[in-house]
């Protein structure tokens, strides 16, 4: 079986509002990363994405399903099991996402400095 997701996967991640390029809603990019190497259960996703609430996580996953980025597979067992998996279309988003990450790595600090300077200039 595959490795469980690292609970601290996004620990040192900037707040999404601090970055100029966003993919989907607040949680979409992180969900993409979590599903990169294969399907994951709902409860697996909740671990690295904490403190996301079930309602909000469901909303993001539904939107991604609607857009054809993920598939949702429910297994008829007790307790219930549901798996989310990236489609090829979902995988294709890693291309622009990588470009965004490259920008953050290359220019993120410069933007942060510009913000501080702007704040200090009041």
């Amino acid at each position: 079986m595959r490795e469980p997701l690292d609970p601290a996967l996004f620990a040192d991640c900037d707040d999404h509002t601090d970055l100029p390029v966003r993919v989907g809603d607040k949680w979409t990019a992180k969900i993409l990363v979590c599903l990169r190497d294969g399907p994951r259960r709902f409860s697996e996703l909740q671990v690295p994405l904490a403190p996301v609430t079930p309602k909000v996580l469901t909303e993001s996953l539904r939107a991604m399903e609607r857009d054809g980025l993920v598939t949702r597979t429910a297994y008829d067992e007790t307790p219930p099991r549901v798996e989310y998996e990236l489609t090829p279309l979902g995988h294709s988003l890693f291309q622009p996402l990588a470009a965004s990450c490259t920008w953050n790595a290359t220019h993120g600090a410069e933007m942060a400095r510009a913000r501080e300077e702007y704040a200090n200039r009041r």
Copy 2:
């Protein structure tokens, strides 16, 4: 002097909420495009960006100025003249923006189809 901006520059542009990758807020990406070839006045920007209101356009420009993406230069004349110009940091955003546009061109139709199919499956 340079060409005026085409009033229909964004006429056949998808609504920003239809696309998965966004740069800044609702108007940021379009402002980047308007400033690509050199400085522009506030009123010049309003033309292709119509029906943006002055308040919202100002908010976007202020945020971009704060982030070091544009400079704002006010000339002390009557009537007043203000010019906005991209910084090198602002120009650097065309890299991830291009990746986003490539994705839209390559996979946008597929996402649109997925949405229709999802809607019809109710």
